[in-house]
Symmetry: C2
Subunit: 275 residues, 2 copies
């Protein structure tokens, strides 16, 4: 099965387009995990992420660990175990490594090996800056996918993505190249921020069939309804990611209950737009 | 001391602009390390990298580990020890983590923590795609540096870096922004491929004072003389990186001797242009 097929199965089986981001930040952990976090940070990261996965799995179709949070805590071994846990316990969910890798030749081959073999990623996020051949090593894993950074909604997102002009911005060209040159085997998606639904529309127009990975809902405050309307397609077409709003929904004993509640609300809000 | 000062000290103390790239590829290790590589890959990676550092330190001013090679082999602990070894044994050398990171906000903070605290990097390579605020978390480490991906010489380098036209390419704008907006504290350099010396000239024109990190000499076949002439400035101005040509100079018992010889020749060739 190719990556798009894998994603479509997840959407349908789970009846959800919600992706739960795993950004384990020790300084924000709920009180019941703080003693463990002080004594054994890796154990706390593992328990926290497993707890979030368990609480939200029913409402999500994907999990997206952000590797920077693991790397800064020397928690690579935890990420490996979470990957295996996802495969064992949530086989219908998609596991996306958020790493935004970008390099060439044999270096990119090693990054692909890290993402797909070591961390069992169904897909990995990558940067387009170095061009087509920097993406090929990932695409040679035929059952896996990449989400290419396209449009980001941070303040500096305009610096280069809008170049040379809002009428012919770089990010639309990235979307076009992704659709026309890279997606021969239904492996390619795009990362598109949710702040400006009109831009999600422009990306959807340039790449009608590509799945979109959309951060910026929840803590980052994007407009959910307008974003879903702009980004959906006949297949479903999008993963709406939420991280902090779910992960840190409560600092108390009810952290899993509250995470589940926010995940359910977000899934339902997305599905209400689709209905 | 700011990063440019650190780099100038390294250039002067070592009388070299050579940076030795550490890309440990187990499949290419010399014969004397192959039995160890089969039995204990991490020990082999450590012995190989330490052996290369020892052999080439006299001729280099910097070492540049490429993190993908460590990550694909679960060798993060080795990279930590190499970082400490560089600090202990080669305190005049600059230690550059080649990671090409690119993300925003708290994620970028965690990547900066990984590079600077965990791997003791004097500088880290980063991608400009997400714009100014994606670089700020690194710049808040005031004694450390970043090398921003600017122009790469791989076949796909033109896909976006030449956009919208060779007369006003993206990579020159990256160089301008780096020089004018990001380099308030002498922390910023640029990664520029060596294949087209005329492009090194264009970058040097856009960013007269920024240090350039130049891969593409040696195995990648760039023109050394033309590149040095195009990229040097009054301070020295460049790090010329060579990885494979030095690392895998010999597959036999003389791998360290040959690595040293190639490093010496490369340093001398660079210095001959400068003389």
């Amino acid at each position: 099965m190719n990556f798009l097929g894998r994603l479509q199965h997840a959407w349908q089986h789970q009846r959800s387009m919600l992706c739960v981001g795993l950004d384990p930040d020790l300084t924000k952990f709920p009180r019941p995990l703080q003693a463990l976090a002080a004594r054994d940070p890796l154990a706390a990261i593992e328990r926290f992420c497993l707890g979030i996965m368990e609480a939200t799995a029913a409402y999500a179709c994907a999990f997206k660990p952000q590797i920077a949070y693991f790397a800064s805590s020397r928690a690579e071994s935890v990420l490996e175990r979470l990957a295996q846990a996802c495969r064992d316990h949530y086989p219908h969910h998609v596991w996306i490594l958020d790493a935004k890798r970008g390099d060439i030749g044999s270096t990119a081959e090693h990054y692909a090996k890290e993402a797909f073999d070591r961390y069992l990623a169904d897909a990995v996020t990558v940067s387009p800056y170095m061009g087509t051949d920097s993406l090929s090593p990932y695409l040679s894993y035929e059952s896996r996918g990449i989400f290419v950074l396209c449009r980001t909604s941070n303040p500096g997102g305009d610096d280069f993505q809008m170049r040379p002009s809002p009428q012919q911005p770089l990010y639309v060209e990235v979307a076009q190249q992704a659709a026309q040159r890279w997606n021969h085997h239904q492996q390619v998606g795009l990362v598109v921020g949710a702040t400006y639904p009109r831009e999600v529309e422009a990306v959807r127009h340039a790449a009608p069939d590509l799945p979109l990975l959309i951060p910026g809902i929840g803590a980052q405050g994007g407009d959910l309804v307008a974003t879903v309307k702009a980004g959906r397609n006949a297949n479903g077409g999008m993963l709406i990611n939420s991280s902090r709003a779910i992960l840190y929904a409560s600092a108390g004993d009810d952290w899993q209950v509250r995470a589940a509640a926010i995940a359910k609300i977000t899934r339902d809000d997305i599905n209400a737009v689709n209905a």
